[in-house]
């Protein structure tokens, strides 16, 4: 898992509310037994035609989409199924951070487990941000803030909160399993005492 401390790049906005994991990665791409190459199927039904060719005009098919590490999605991003293929597909495509005004529970924990940073902003900040497609944004996990400097000189700095353990692991690229593994004695004690 790659560590995340601070990332800068142009924002890519998908304004639609309730973007569910069936959109992020449709079920027909879930039959593989690994996650290799899954990024190529990200948002397949939005981005690609029936022959798998990119649909002209979709924002995710613009060359800048691959250069942008930061995706801003509409309210309630990642709802629906528990498929971890969803954060893997976003990572595989090149995103490292997803920002919304609400992120679904299972998607959030899956993202933290695989090294995609979920950031939740206040509704009004998020509403401002979705108007800033293409502007440069910096997400700083050390400082827990998001900074946008628009081309016309306006600067925004918004703090966000994140679960401290998730932050600790994401910043160091740590596998959360190790924490569980170190609790072996407590697990044994629990099993013996019940």
């Amino acid at each position: 898992m790659q560590a995340i401390t601070k990332l800068t790049g142009p924002i890519l906005v998908l304004e639609q509310e309730n973007i569910d994991t069936d959109q992020i990665i449709p079920a027909r791409f879930l039959t593989a037994t690994d996650f290799d190459g899954i990024g190529e199927h990200l948002f397949a039904d939005w981005r690609l035609d029936a022959n798998g060719e990119p649909k002209p005009g979709h924002v995710l098919n613009e060359p800048r989409a691959r250069r942008s590490p930061i995706l801003v999605g509409g309210h309630n991003f990642g709802c629906g199924s528990s498929r971890e293929h969803a954060p893997h597909a976003l990572l595989g495509f090149g995103f490292r951070v997803v920002i919304s005004s609400q992120i679904a529970d299972i998607f959030r924990s899956n993202s933290q487990n695989v090294g995609l940073l979920p950031v939740v902003l206040e509704a009004d900040q998020h509403a401002t941000l979705v108007q800033m497609d293409g502007e440069e944004i910096t997400v700083d996990l050390e400082e827990c803030n998001v900074v946008v400097k628009t081309s016309d000189g306006v600067e925004h700095c918004w703090p966000f909160s994140i679960d401290p353990f998730a932050r600790h692991c994401l910043m160091r690229g740590l596998d959360r399993f190790e924490f569980l593994n170190q609790a072996e004695d407590a697990i044994v004690a629990f099993e013996e005492n019940r």
Partner: protein, 471 residues
């Protein structure tokens, strides 16, 4: 005296291996881990990577459901898998279960079925348990007074390896539904009404306990339907306190204690109910008597209406996009929409009571000629029971296809598909864009409504059938 606890508090506290601290999550113990072919292979890879085994194979139970075909094998005994990769994925689960000593319900098992149908039928799902599965509809098992929720593949690996999960304690919500559901209003309609009320994110961050007369008077299958759909309001888990209905359902099932041991267990289970003065972070009260048969018109399960109401006019860009995808106009009557496909099945409504309800509507009637109707039992047990009651004949005579158990048309990965542009009335749980196939349009409803729509060939409720003679 200790503080009053809710059902959820009791389950959480009794499974704490390590309490939450300011900088670390809690570690909770998992009693039952359900596994299927789609979300497990990378979890088993974690074991190999770390060189460890499955900690508690006896607490792990596997089945084939998502990517399995629902048509029978050919003359050579070959199953018609949708893709070679789907077949390989099933084989991978088989191999993993063999290697790690996990009980798997394969094609030859009399219990094989959709993971959330099979667990309760076998009595593997029991009150007071923590239950997880790499599937968001694990919330179904909460109907038994268990804490049950969906997890991701990395966490599947964690549970295989340590039988534990890292979790922060969610907030609690109680939804009390007073009064009785009117005739022809089902558990599915109740759930759609609750999701409409909460919105598809109103439950995010919460575990929901359902209470009140309307919930208590549901049978176990109805309770499972309700808890199953909890995730569609964003909450990870839904639960209902165990009562006599729960105990009666479980008695005698293969995996529960038998004889006196069962009655002893039952006494403990009945004590799990929330204490009278338990405190919830959020409390909601709804009235069942005003609820009507419902159907979705949009692209999330929160977008539903009472059948007979016009489609609402779009009030946001997202709403507009949803109506456009579905091919609806604000103000339009749902009954104007012709139906191409009807699907009865899934972990939401693929149980025996659901098939009986659909058969009851179809008995003596015919599926409209332009409608393709699939009836897919949720498990081998449901299939056997239905066939012993002759339900399969009612379906076939009416012109519906009777299939083998599996997730089928609930999600488009096993070959059972709705074509682009087609409208399906489906008893499943998600009407997301493309959920039943690229470009498919899904209307979620109860088995009764789905069957009535199949007969009339357009969106209809059971009461619309009064004008149709039974032959």
């Amino acid at each position: 005296m200790s503080a009053a606890e809710s059902l959820f508090d009791k389950l959480w506290n009794s499974h704490l291996v390590k309490a939450q601290s300011e900088s670390t999550p809690a570690i909770i113990y998992i009693d039952l881990h359900l596994v299927h072919e789609v979300t497990s292979p990378q979890g088993f890879d974690l074991l190999r990577e770390k060189g460890i085994g499955v900690r508690r194979p006896e607490r792990t139970l596997a089945t084939l459901d998502h990517s399995t075909p629902t048509l029978p094998p050919d003359a050579n005994g070959q199953r018609p898998y949708y893709t070679a990769q789907a077949h390989r994925q099933v084989q991978a689960l088989r191999d993993n279960c063999k290697e790690y000593g996990i009980e798997i319900h394969d094609w030859d098992s009399p219990y094989r079925g959709i993971v959330h149908v099979m667990g309760p039928e076998m009595g593997a799902t029991q009150p007071g348990m923590t239950i997880v599965c790499g599937d968001s509809h694990t919330s179904t098992h909460g109907a038994f007074g268990a804490l049950a929720f969906g997890i991701g593949t990395t966490e599947v690996g964690h549970v295989l390896a340590k039988q534990c999960l890292l979790q922060s304690k969610p907030k609690s919500m109680r939804i009390k539904v007073d009064g009785r559901l009117p005739e022809n209003v089902t558990a599915k309609d109740l759930a759609l009404n609750i999701i409409r009320y909460l919105g598809m994110n109103g439950g995010t961050g919460f575990v929901i306990e359902y209470a009140g007369e309307a919930v208590r008077s549901l049978d176990m299958e109805g309770r499972m339907t309700l808890c199953n759909l909890t995730i569609e309001a964003g909450a990870r888990a839904g639960m209902i306190a165990p009562d006599k209905t729960t105990i009666d359902y479980l008695r005698g099932r293969p995996r529960v204690p038998q004889g006196d041991a069962f009655e002893e267990a039952a006494t403990v289970w009945l004590q799990l109910a929330s204490d009278e003065d338990a405190v919830f972070d959020s409390e909601i009260t709804l009235d069942a008597s005003s609820m009507r048969p419902s159907i979705t018109y949009g692209t999330d399960p929160g977008m539903s209406l009472d059948i007979g109401e016009p489609v609402p006019r779009a009030d946001s860009k997202s709403h507009e996009k949803a109506l456009e995808y579905m091919g609806f106009e604000g103000g339009q009557q749902m009954s104007e929409r012709n139906v191409d496909v009807v699907f009865i099945g899934s972990c939401t409504n693929g149980r025996i009571s659901d098939l009986r309800a659909a058969a009851n509507v179809l008995s003596g009637r015919k599926v409209a000629p332009h409608v393709r109707m699939l009836v897919v039992p949720g498990s081998e047990s449901v299939l056997r029971q239905a066939e012993s009651e002759g339900l399969h004949e009612i379906f076939s005579t009416a012109g519906a296809e009777w299939r083998l158990p599996g997730c089928s048309m609930c999600l488009a990965m096993n070959g059972d598909l709705v074509a682009a542009g087609e409208t399906a009335v489906s008893t499943s749980n998600r009407n997301f864009e493309g959920r039943q196939g690229s470009g498919s349009r899904t209307l979620l409803a109860s088995p009764e409504t789905a069957a009535a729509s199949a007969v009339l060939g357009h969106v209809a409720s059971v009461s619309d059938l009064d004008s149709v003679e039974i032959s």
